[in-house]
Symmetry: C2
Subunit: 284 residues, 2 copies
């Protein structure tokens, strides 16, 4: 499994790291980058993350046998339309987006005949973003979710799985709609909440932030994640996210009621349940 | 400044670390521990964190010149009443509780004539708790809030400040009511939210937890904090906490509205504001 030419659409933390991991594992001969920022692409080339770049996504994909979407998810459809006519028969198109579901089915529908889409989502995001934080080993030991549908080509998915396994990732196959329900609760909701905690303190008195301790820093670390990436993720996973928010609000209202009633016992019972769940993660 | 006999009421992470820091800095001759668990006190003694212990708080305070409250804040008033008659004239009573405000004034009112209360709150908590995580250096470089009132004895507060500065803490003086308003927003609300995020995922499907990544782990780290400690903190700072919750809910409702309306621009603006605030912490 060696790709002659690989195109990375969006050379940031994840796209750049994917390129570096491909090179490190000698899985490709040449990596072409596409992005909106000339300066970023030039830096990626200087740092040998990509071999060359294009500012036109169609040109970047011309003749490639593997194309990776690593731009904010909100841009996928537009880019897929723009590259449509330059995709080679037999090419594999994959992505690293945090939203799957309808996006995967829309992407599949936009592939020319003989071009195979396989949805992927490496769980190696970070509050950091941009090319300077890219590294070949960020996928090692991390989960990577692959989201097959009834249309997924068997050979193409096996190749995509093999790439991630070569990178050291723990690959899990999940239905794209189930993926979005899962990640609405364990990722998209917590990101939204982290942003909201920051803005809540600002509404109260932003000078209070200087009194915060390690707990606050940990809880809000992901509030320094890319607003553009997370805007797209939240919008594209709106329905699941709104459902998670409703359940969160029910919990918040119940706890507020315990507080108003000075109901220590119920409060402690809720906290204990949460602690047991938190301490159980990764132990099964 | 050398204390002959120091009593630590509650020999857990913070109480035990305070004892170790006193010993390391040669600020005391003898440390007596009080707690509810004989087993814990025995372990503290075996590990030379305390020199002896009592299961009766009054006995533990007998003849001490420094008494530190390091039990859950909900127990302070009851213990203060129990030790009242055994407090030596000239003794300093302090605490490490996460709630100040009315609690500080109630504690002051419970001191016998000639015994001085000084409220303190080291910002060195952790999701860990218990004696096994105690260490002499946890206060080094951390903030410690001291909360004087109009009744605070000048000599007593200077001594308490000197102790924390000797431990390497950055001491800040704040009015006890202002302290509670600050920490409702930058600590008590985030703890409550972390517990609630866990219980929200459990309501959706607790099997989803195994798909979580580093962002989730960071955001919910403090959900493994002691339920008993945090039950007391939330109850005692109820009014400020409920006010913070209201402002949080307003922010959550606004963001939900953006989502429903697919208002990407407003969503991104809110996220950007949060990120700027988060990245600004510690830079002023």
């Amino acid at each position: 499994m060696i790709f002659n030419k690989v195109t990375i659409l969006g050379v940031g933390l994840i796209g750049g790291s994917f390129a570096l991991a491909l090179k490190k594992n000698r899985l490709c001969n040449k990596v072409i980058g596409y992005g909106r920022s000339l300066e970023n692409l030039q830096r990626a080339k200087e740092n040998a993350i990509i071999d060359s770049f294009e500012l036109d996504p169609a040109k970047a994909c011309d003749g490639s046998d593997l194309i990776l979407f690593a731009t904010p998810v909100g841009s996928f459809i537009d880019i897929a339309k723009r590259i449509h006519s330059s995709l080679n028969k037999g090419a594999i198109v994959s992505d690293v987006g945090s939203v799957k579901g309808k996006l995967v089915r829309d992407m599949e529908a936009l592939m020319p005949k003989g071009v195979y889409f396989v949805g992927g989502h490496p769980i190696s995001g970070s509050n950091h973003s941009g090319i300077d934080t890219a590294a070949a080993d960020i996928f090692k030991g991390a989960k990577c979710i692959i989201t097959p549908t009834e249309k997924t080509d068997q050979t193409a998915i096996e190749i995509v799985i093999a790439i991630w396994k070569t990178f050291g990732s723990i690959v899990k196959l999940i239905n794209p709609d189930e993926h979005d329900r899962i990640y609405a609760s364990v990722s998209h909701l917590p990101h939204l909440i982290a942003y909201i905690i920051m803005n809540t303190v600002a509404d109260i008195d932003s000078s209070y932030l200087k009194f915060s301790g390690q707990g606050f820093m940990d809880t809000t670390r992901i509030a320094s994640s890319s607003p553009e990436l997370w805007r797209d993720i939240c919008i594209l996973n709106k329905d699941n996210l709104l459902e998670s928010i409703e359940i969160f609000k029910n919990n918040l209202d119940r706890v507020s009621q315990y507080l108003r009633a000075l109901d220590s016992e119920s409060l402690e019972r809720d906290f204990k349940k949460a602690r047991t769940l938190r301490e159980g993660i990764g132990q099964d």
